[in-house]
């Protein structure tokens, strides 16, 4: 492996680092936007998922793995997270409505 190849591989990680810092700054500035609360939460969730994809795909090299591993890892976590959050959200919202004055 040449020194140029080595530097090129470091460069990719530091570009990802820069993108993540920009996304983090956007997330922190979200409150100063004159948007509605649901729109700001939507922006934060999208930004969060982009950061997660960058860490998983670039830093953890998941995008270079076999599709079987990608599905086993990302699919399992996404499916069970969605399942759990959806189940709990219904009950949480029901209690929130009961607490409304």
């Amino acid at each position: 492996m040449s020194e140029t190849d080595s530097k090129a591989s470091y460069k990719g990680y530091w570009i990802t680092w820069g993108i993540m810092l920009v996304i983090t700054a956007i997330m922190l500035l979200g409150d100063s936007l004159s948007w509605s609360k649901p729109a700001i939460v939507g922006l934060l969730l999208v930004a969060m998922l982009v950061k997660v994809a960058l860490i998983g795909g670039e830093f953890m090299h998941l995008r270079f793995e076999k599709p079987a591993l990608i599905w086993a890892v990302a699919g399992c976590i996404l499916f069970f997270s969605a399942f759990l959050f959806i189940l709990i959200a219904f009950d949480g919202l029901r209690i929130a409505r009961m607490l409304e004055p």
């Binding site: 983090t24 860490i55 830093f59 997270s81």
Partner: protein, 197 residues
């Protein structure tokens, strides 16, 4: 009898080494544990009539700095893995040391944040902001994440010592890196759900 076929480890179904595959299995189970914690936190927030204003409770500049440090340590860790793949062990040592420093700074800042909140009267079952479950879920989730950071630092220290003494392998650095990136990944969720939403 062909003994080699009996003792040789079988290839993993994912085409990765066993060390790496098992680390991925661990990461999936640990991620589901954090999912449970965060889902519980979401439930508590939905089911609470009021919730403290995060801007009044947390110092967002400190949290931003903590996030910057952890993201930077993830980048240095990824660079350490790249250096290990190129068998550039002097760079591995440098990048692992930088990652260790980043992790220690993060843990120090978290301890500072905790001590400030405790000084203001926050405990696991009560706080000055009137919603006991707020600090209960905060201490539980950030504490659990902090214990992962501490574990990661021990793993990194061992990997750095092994690299310095020429006993580490590329796979060892890669597996340690996977764990450290996972710690960073969990922080992305905590940062969003606790400090921003």
């Amino acid at each position: 009898m062909n003994t080699q076929s009996v003792v040789a480890p079988a290839a993993t179904p994912f085409g990765a080494g066993w060390q790496k595959s098992m680390m991925w299995v661990f990461i999936v189970t640990d991620a589901l544990l954090f999912t449970g914690f965060l889902a519980s936190y979401g439930f508590v927030r939905l089911a609470s009539a009021s919730w403290p204003n995060r801007a009044e409770v947390f110092d967002l500049r400190l949290i931003a700095l903590m996030t910057f440090v952890l993201i930077s340590s993830s980048a240095t860790m990824a660079s350490a893995v790249a250096a290990a793949k190129h068998s550039d062990w002097s760079m591995v040592k440098i990048f692992l040391s930088l990652t260790l420093v980043g992790g220690l700074c993060f843990l120090g800042m978290q301890a500072y944040e905790w001590s400030n909140l405790i000084h203001e009267g926050a405990t696991l079952h009560s706080n000055p902001w009137g919603v006991p479950l707020f600090t209960a879920s905060f201490f539980l989730i950030t504490g659990f994440h902090g214990s992962h950071v501490l574990t990661g630092l021990i793993v990194l220290a061992v990997t750095a010592i092994r690299s310095a003494t020429g006993r580490s392998t590329m796979h060892g650095v890669e597996v340690a890196g996977l764990y450290w990136h996972f710690v960073d990944l969990v922080w992305v969720f905590i940062f969003t759900f606790f400090y921003l939403v």
